[in-house]
């Protein structure tokens, strides 16, 4: 392991394709050992950013350092520390899995006498040891994806950059890949991109959120989600509707919709907290206490899963990109 210092340092990174700006003034740093999720809708500039970090694209302005080595100034040194899996894991269909990984190991400067061991280790890690002699062209999408992952791992680099590692996989394969990434996160720094919120939630301690080529949020995932979860609530209550509405409106909830199911006399409600409410969680507590006090049966209260779009809109409302210092937005006092 190399000396201390950040694994990735991106400084004022911009990329322009002609007149289109894909990434604008992106600055962030990732410490060694972190597992970071790169989140954003399609077309937010995630792939472009990852390609710049991996050295496939040169930034129009700004720079990237991997373990202190500038990706454009010292490309060979910087690239040696990175295991990069491009989106959709492109491979040579005419090669066998073992041949391909051996070729990649040689290309990534794994010494000749360690190559065989490196290939079997990474196949073991990516759980493709049984496919060693299979032609890549005959593999299923899930296997190909894992060959791509094995390729990223073959030289045992300190940093893994994975572009949409679970795209196009079935739910079982997604679960496997998630487990694998969690396992790898113990020894490697990982930066992975996705447009699925749960993905980041399941795998990453920290999330970077991009929108329209700019960083709109940077912080621990749970803080990012809690913020959203508690804004919208579902209630299942038993009691007179008027009492219930009185109580809820009294603590500042806004009614979104309600329905009464006749058999048990239950009232189902959906409420939302206004943005001005400083502490929604305390309000939930207060509301439940009051409801119980008034003799209303509280059967279920649960927060709705935030959708990515909602998180985005909340984050973009909270921090207008133009007014924001990139890399410095913190959610609920979290330290990156």
């Amino acid at each position: 392991m190399p000396a201390k210092g950040p694994m990735i340092e991106a400084n004022q990174l911009s990329k322009q394709y002609g007149s289109f700006t894909a990434v604008r003034d992106l600055s962030f740093s990732v410490a060694q050992g972190q597992v970071v999720g790169f989140l954003g809708p399609n077309g937010a500039g995630k792939t472009t950013t990852l390609r710049m970090l991996a050295g496939f694209l040169g930034p129009t302005s700004g720079n990237v350092r991997i373990l202190g080595h500038d990706v454009t100034q010292e490309p060979m040194l910087a690239r040696q520390s990175v295991g990069y899996m491009p989106e959709a894991a492109p491979l040579y269909p005419e090669m066998r899995v073992g041949e391909y990984l051996s070729f990649r190991a040689e290309l990534k400067l794994v010494p000749r006498n360690q190559r065989k061991a490196a290939v079997s280790r990474c196949m073991e890690q990516a759980r493709i040891a049984d496919a060693k002699d299979t032609l890549i062209g005959h593999l299923s999408k899930g296997y190909r994806q894992r060959v791509g992952l094995a390729d990223a791992l073959v030289a045992n680099p300190p940093l893994l950059i994975l572009d949409e590692p679970t795209a196009g996989l079935d739910p079982n394969q997604i679960r496997e890949v998630r487990e694998l990434i969690a396992e790898l996160g113990r020894e490697h720094t990982i930066l992975l991109s996705t447009h699925i919120l749960q993905e980041v939630e399941a795998m990453c301690a920290r999330a970077l959120v991009m929108q329209k080529g700019q960083l709109v949020a940077d912080g621990p995932m749970n803080a990012l989600l809690r913020e959203q979860n508690t804004r919208s609530l579902h209630w299942e209550l038993r009691g007179p509707e008027s009492t219930i509405l009185n109580v809820l409106e009294g603590v500042g909830a806004r009614l979104k919709n309600s329905a009464t199911s006749p058999p048990g006399g239950c009232v189902q409600l959906q409420t939302e907290w206004g943005k001005e409410l400083p502490d929604p969680e305390a309000a939930v507590e207060q509301a439940i206490a009051l409801l119980v006090q008034k003799g209303v049966g509280v059967r279920r209260v649960y927060s709705e899963r935030a959708k990515l779009e909602e998180v985005f809109s909340a984050l973009t409302e909270a921090a207008e990109p133009s007014k924001m210092v990139p890399g410095n937005i913190q959610i609920e006092g979290s330290a990156p």
Partner: protein, 249 residues
């Protein structure tokens, strides 16, 4: 030059495990065999043979248009997929993020096609060997003829490598290379059209026909060697620049 050897080996594997090289090899050898057979049967019926005008010379040079036509198709077909396929399928991304320089990639790929080209010609070494039973074969002529073929192939494959880097479609790469080679071939014909002068000199310098004609007579003209090697260096240098420029597109 780290990575060169890995690229070279992979490219060779890629050429020979797919049917491309084998189909080319069979077609190529059938054509060459047919041409050689007809040349030999023609000379066996000839009344008189002069010293520097035998079947070997006819096979390699002296307007043996068949040889040139096969070269026109063989070289572009070998080089067409080098970079275009990598870019179409996206594997170029893995390649360019590995710690390997563009020059190593270009040389590895190019030399793999050149080696394949040499391998394809090697069975034809049998022809002069067969002729030794019936007459005298000038070893020097055989050597310079193959040198001429090597230089010509090296130049065309380098041009093909560049064309393959300029387009994402194999077919476009093939057509562009054929077009350029055919252009040089047609320019060479100009040698017989223009009166001696500047145009005549230009045409005779790039002419494939005069090129092989000279080499098949045992003449090694340094100008021909320099011309071919210049094409190789220029094309490969430009390819390296093109590969590097993809990062900044």
């Amino acid at each position: 030059m780290t990575g060169f050897w890995a690229i070279y080996k992979r490219e060779m594997l890629s050429l020979w495990v797919t049917p491309v090289a084998w189909i080319l090899l069979v077609t190529f050898l059938l054509l060459q065999g047919g041409v050689f057979y007809s040349i030999v049967s023609h000379y066996s019926g000839a009344a008189e043979l002069s010293f520097d005008n035998g079947p070997i010379e006819a096979y390699f040079g002296q307007g043996s248009i068949f040889l040139l036509v096969t070269l026109l198709l063989l070289c572009p077909a070998l080089s067409m997929r080098l970079f275009s396929e990598e870019r179409r399928s996206g594997t170029i991304e893995s390649l360019l993020t590995a710690p390997v320089r563009a020059l190593s990639i270009v040389l590895g790929k190019y030399l793999a096609t050149l080696s394949t080209y040499i391998l394809m010609w090697s069975p034809t070494l049998l022809y002069p060997f067969l002729l030794r039973d019936t007459g005298v074969v000038d070893g020097g002529v055989v050597f310079t003829s193959y040198l001429g073929l090597l230089l010509l192939g090296a130049a065309y494959l380098a041009v093909g490598t560049l064309m393959s880097a300029l387009t994402q479609s194999q077919l476009s790469a093939l057509m562009l290379t054929v077009l350029l080679q055919f252009g040089m071939f047609v320019l060479g014909v100009g040698e017989y059209i223009f009166d001696p002068g500047l145009l005549h000199s230009i045409c005779s310098h790039v002419s494939m026909m005069s090129h092989m004609e000279e080499f098949s007579k045992g003449i090694i003209d340094l100008r021909r060697v320099v011309f071919d090697l210049s094409v190789v260096v220029l094309a490969l240098f430009t390819t390296t620049e093109v590969v590097d420029s993809w990062r900044w597109s």
